[in-house]
C-alpha cells in the first residue's frame, strides 16, 4: 500500500508545475493546459485522501471537478479561438484591455 504522503508530494509537484506554468508561460493554450494540470493535481490528492480516510464524498467531488474542468476547457478554448480570430494573437501579455 502506497502511503498517502507520496501522493501528496506528487500532487504538490504537479500543482506547482501547473501554477508556475500558468504564471510564466505567455501562450494562452499552454496556460489552459496548466489549469488542467492544477485541477488534476487536486483530483489526485482528493482521491488519495478519500481512499486513505475511507470517505466516498471525496470521490464524488472528483467527478464534479472533472465536469467543471471539461466545461472550463470548452469555454476557454472557444474564447481562445474567438480571440485569435479577432486579433491574430494568442500571447496573453498582449491583452491589456482591462488595464486600470
Amino acid at each position: 500500500m502506497i502511503p498517502v504522503s507520496w501522493f501528496v508530494v506528487l500532487t504538490l509537484f504537479l500543482f506547482s508545475i501547473g501554477a508556475l506554468g500558468f504564471i510564466v508561460r505567455r501562450n494562452v493554450i499552454i496556460m489552459l493546459i496548466c489549469i488542467e494540470i492544477m485541477l488534476n493535481a487536486v483530483n489526485i490528492s482528493l482521491v488519495a485522501f478519500g481512499r486513505a480516510l475511507e470517505h466516498t464524498v471525496a470521490h464524488v467531488l472528483v467527478f464534479f471537478v472533472i465536469a467543471v474542468a471539461a466545461a472550463e476547457a470548452a469555454i476557454g478554448l472557444a474564447l481562445v479561438v474567438l480571440l485569435f480570430k479577432k486579433t491574430r494573437e494568442v500571447h496573453m501579455d498582449e491583452f491589456r484591455l482591462l488595464k486600470g
Partner: protein, 650 residues
C-alpha cells in the same frame, strides 16, 4: 360641559376641508363652510358663557398627548370666566370678520385659501384661550403665529408682503424662545404644566431665589420675565414691536381679526392667566408696566405722522396694547382684560372701516394713502358713521366702550399699591390725548373736506361697500358702544359686572390711598375721569382745528421741528437700529463666519475631502491592475501562499 371641545374643532374641520377641496371643488363657495362652522362655535361659546355665568366650571383632558415619567401633557380644556370670555369674544369677532371677508375678498384668486387660513386661525386662537396647561397654550401660541405668517404673506407675490410675513415670524421667534424657556422653568419648578397644579402651589416659591449669571433673583421673577418675553413678541410690545406695523401688508380683515382684536391680545391674556406668578415679583410687574408705557407712548407719537390709514390704526393698536399691559403692570388685571375686550370691538371696527374705505379706493395706486382721501363722508355714510363711533370710543368719550375701560385703568393705576402707579396714570392720560388726536386725524383726513383722489381714481367714484361688509360694521358699532356698559364703575351708579365676573380668576387689585383721602375716593375717581375726558376732547379739538379748520397748521411741526418730525415719521428709527445692530451683524456673521469658515472650510472640507482621499487612494491602487492575467495569478498565488504560511506557523 363636554360640548366645549366643538368650539375649536368646528373651525378646524372647516379649515381642513376647505384647504383640501377648496382649489378644485369648492372655489367660489369656499366661504360657506368656515362661516357656518365659526357661527356654530360662536353659539356654543355663548352657551358656555351662559353656563359659566350660571356657576358651571370645567377642567378636563380630552386626549393624553405625552406621558413620560412625571411629565404629563394633554389636550385639555379649562372653562372658567376668563377663558369663556375670550372664547365668546374671539368666536363672535371671527364670525363677523368671516362674513365681512365674503365681500372684501371677492374675486381674489386665493379666495378658498383665505377662508381656510382664517378658520385655522380661529381654531388656533380658541385652543390657546381654552387650554388647561402651558403646553397647549404654547401650541395655540405657535399656531396663531403660523396663521399670522400665512395671512400676512397672503399676497405672497408682493415682495413687501412676503418680507413682512418673515419679519413677523422671526421677531416672534425671539419672544417665543423666552416663552418656551419660561414653560420649561415652570415644569422644572412645579413638576407639572397644568394651570391648576401650578397656581395652587405658586406661593411655595414666593421667596425662592436662583442664581442667574451671578445675580440672585427671585425664581418667580425669572419665570414671569421669560413668559413675558413671549407676550412682548406676540403682543408687539417694545422692544419686539417692529413687526406689527409691517403686518398691515396682509388683507384688511386679517389686520382686524389677528393684528388688532385677537391674536395680539394673547400676550395680555397670558399675563392675566399667569397673574399669580407675576404678582409674586415686583420686578416682573415693573417690567410689564415699563414695556407697556414705552410702547404706549412711542406708538402714540408715531401714529400722527403716518399717512397710511392702516399703519395709523396699527400704531393705535400698539398703543392700546401698551395700555393693557400698563393695567397688568399695576395689578389691575381685570381692567386690562376689560380694555382688551372693548378694544377688540372698536379696533376691529376701525380696521374693517379702513378696509371699507380701501374697497372704495381700490382703483387708486395706493388705496391706503390718506392724502388721496377726504370727503368720503358723502360717498359712504355707513362706513363713516361706524368709523366715527369707533373713533369716539377709542378717544374715551363718555358713554362709549373705550371710556369705561380706559378710565378703569387710569383710576386703578392712580390708586395702585405699586410705586409706579402714578407714572402709569400720567403716561396713560397723555396718551389718551394723543390717541384722540390721531384717531380724529384719520377721521378728518378721510371723511371730511374735499375729495382729493379724483385724479388717482381715473374717473371712478368712491362707493359704499356691499351690505355683506356694512352689516358687520354696524354690528361692531353696537359692540363698540355697549360692551363698555358691562363694566360701569360704582361711582357712576354701575356695578362693574365685568370685573366681578372675572374676580374668581383674576382677583381684585389692592387700592392704596392715603388715609386722609379715603372719604373722598369717589371725588378723586370723578376728577380723574374729568381729566381724561378733557384731554380726549382737547385731542379731538386740536385735530379738528389742524385738519379741518386751518390745514396750513399741518406744516407747523414739520417746518418748526424738522428733526423731531423726521424722528417720529421714521418710527423712532427702530427698524434702522435693528437693521444696524441685529440684521447686518447677523448677515455679516452668516456670510463671513458661517458661510466663509464653517461652511466652505469645515463642512465642505469634510464633504469634499473624503471623496478626494478615496479618489487619490484609488489612483495609486489602480496601478496594480495592469490588465495582465498572469500578474493577477501571481498575486493570487502569493496571497494563498502567505495565508497558508500564516495558518501553518500560527
Amino acid at each position: 360641559m363636554e360640548y366645549v371641545i366643538w368650539i375649536p374643532f368646528l373651525p378646524l374641520i372647516a379649515a381642513t376641508i376647505t384647504l383640501i377641496f377648496g382649489k378644485w371643488y369648492i372655489r367660489k363657495q369656499a366661504h360657506w363652510l368656515p362661516c357656518i362652522a365659526v357661527f356654530g362655535s360662536f353659539l356654543l361659546s355663548f352657551k358656555a358663557l351662559l353656563d359659566v355665568i350660571g356657576g358651571a366650571r370645567a377642567n378636563f383632558d380630552l386626549y393624553s398627548w405625552v406621558i413620560a415619567d412625571t411629565f404629563h401633557a394633554a389636550v385639555g380644556f379649562q372653562i372658567d370666566p376668563l377663558s369663556v370670555l375670550m372664547l365668546a369674544m374671539v368666536s363672535f369677532l371671527s364670525f363677523l370678520i368671516h362674513v365681512y371677508s365674503i365681500g372684501y375678498m371677492e374675486d381674489d384668486p386665493g379666495y378658498y385659501r383665505f377662508f381656510a387660513y382664517i378658520s385655522l386661525f380661529t381654531f388656533s386662537m380658541l385652543m390657546l384661550v381654552s387650554a388647561n396647561n402651558f403646553l397647549q397654550l404654547f401650541f395655540g401660541w405657535e399656531a396663531v403665529g403660523l396663521c399670522s405668517y400665512l395671512l400676512i404673506g397672503f399676497w405672497y407675490q408682493k415682495k413687501s408682503a412676503a418680507d413682512a410675513a418673515k419679519k413677523a415670524f422671526i421677531v416672534n421667534r425671539f419672544g417665543d424662545f423666552g416663552f418656551a424657556l419660561g414653560v420649561f422653568l415652570v415644569f422644572l419648578t412645579f413638576g407639572s404644566i397644568y394651570y391648576e397644579d401650578v397656581f395652587a402651589r405658586v406661593h411655595e416659591i414666593a421667596h425662592t431665589t436662583v442664581n442667574v449669571l451671578g445675580v440672585e433673583v427671585l425664581l418667580a421673577t425669572l419665570i414671569a420675565v421669560l413668559l413675558f418675553c413671549g407676550a412682548m413678541g406676540k403682543s408687539a410690545q417694545f422692544p419686539l414691536h417692529v413687526w406689527l406695523p409691517d403686518a398691515m401688508e396682509g388683507p384688511t380683515p386679517v389686520s382686524a381679526l389677528i393684528h388688532a382684536a385677537t391674536m395680539v391680545t394673547a400676550g395680555v391674556f397670558m399675563v392675566c392667566r399667569c397673574h399669580e406668578i407675576f404678582e409674586l415679583s415686583h420686578v416682573a410687574m415693573a417690567i410689564v408696566a415699563a414695556a407697556g408705557m414705552i410702547t404706549c407712548f412711542m406708538a402714540a407719537t408715531i401714529a400722527p405722522t403716518q399717512f397710511d390709514i392702516k399703519r395709523v390704526i396699527a400704531y393705535s393698536t400698539l398703543s392700546q396694547l401698551g395700555y393693557m399691559f400698563m393695567a397688568c403692570g399695576v395689578g389691575a388685571f381685570a381692567a386690562g382684560m376689560f380694555h382688551l375686550f372693548t378694544h377688540a370691538f372698536f379696533k376691529a371696527l376701525l380696521f374693517l372701516g379702513a378696509g371699507s374705505v380701501m374697497h372704495a379706493m381700490h382703483h387708486a395706486p395706493d388705496p391706503t394713502d390718506m392724502r388721496y382721501m377726504g370727503g368720503l363722508r358723502k360717498y359712504m355714510p355707513i362706513t363713516f358713521a361706524t368709523f366715527l363711533i369707533a373713533s369716539l370710543s377709542i378717544s374715551g368719550i363718555p358713554g362709549l366702550a373705550g371710556f369705561f375701560s380706559k378710565d378703569e385703568i387710569l383710576w386703578l393705576s392712580f390708586v395702585s399699591e405699586y410705586p409706579w402707579g402714578k407714572l402709569v396714570w400720567f403716561v396713560g392720560t397723555v396718551v389718551a390725548g394723543l390717541t384722540a388726536f390721531y384717531s380724529f386725524r384719520v377721521v378728518f383726513m378721510t371723511f371730511f373736506g374735499e375729495f382729493r383722489g379724483k385724479e388717482v381714481l381715473h374717473g371712478h367714484e368712491p362707493h359704499e361697500s356691499p351690505s355683506v361688509m356694512t352689516i358687520p360694521l354696524m354690528i361692531l358699532a353696537v359692540g363698540a358702544v355697549v360692551t363698555g356698559w358691562l363694566g360701569v364703575p360704582h361711582v357712576l351708579g354701575g356695578h362693574n359686572h365685568f370685573a366681578k365676573f372675572l374676580e374668581p380668576v383674576l382677583g381684585h387689585p389692592h387700592i392704596n390711598l392715603p388715609y386722609w383721602l379715603y372719604g373722598k375716593k369717589e371725588w378723586i375717581e370723578l376728577f380723574l375721569m374729568a381729566i381724561s375726558v378733557g384731554v380726549g376732547v382737547l385731542g379731538i379739538a386740536v385735530a379738528y382745528v389742524v385738519y379741518v379748520k386751518k390745514p396750513e397748521l399741518q406744516r407747523l411741526i414739520p417746518e418748526r421741528y424738522p428733526a423731531l418730525y423726521r424722528y417720529l415719521y421714521n418710527k423712532w428709527y427702530w427698524d434702522e437700529i435693528y437693521d444696524a445692530t441685529i440684521v447686518k451683524p447677523t448677515f455679516f456673521t452668516a456670510r463671513s463666519i458661517v458661510q466663509g469658515v464653517v461652511d466652505s472650510i469645515l463642512i465642505e472640507g469634510v464633504v469634499n475631502g473624503l471623496p478626494d482621499l478615496i479618489r487619490r487612494g484609488g489612483e495609486s491602487l489602480r496601478r496594480l491592475q495592469n490588465g495582465v492575467v498572469q500578474t493577477y495569478a501571481l498575486i493570487m498565488a502569493t496571497g494563498a501562499a502567505v495565508v497558508l504560511l500564516l495558518v501553518y506557523f500560527f
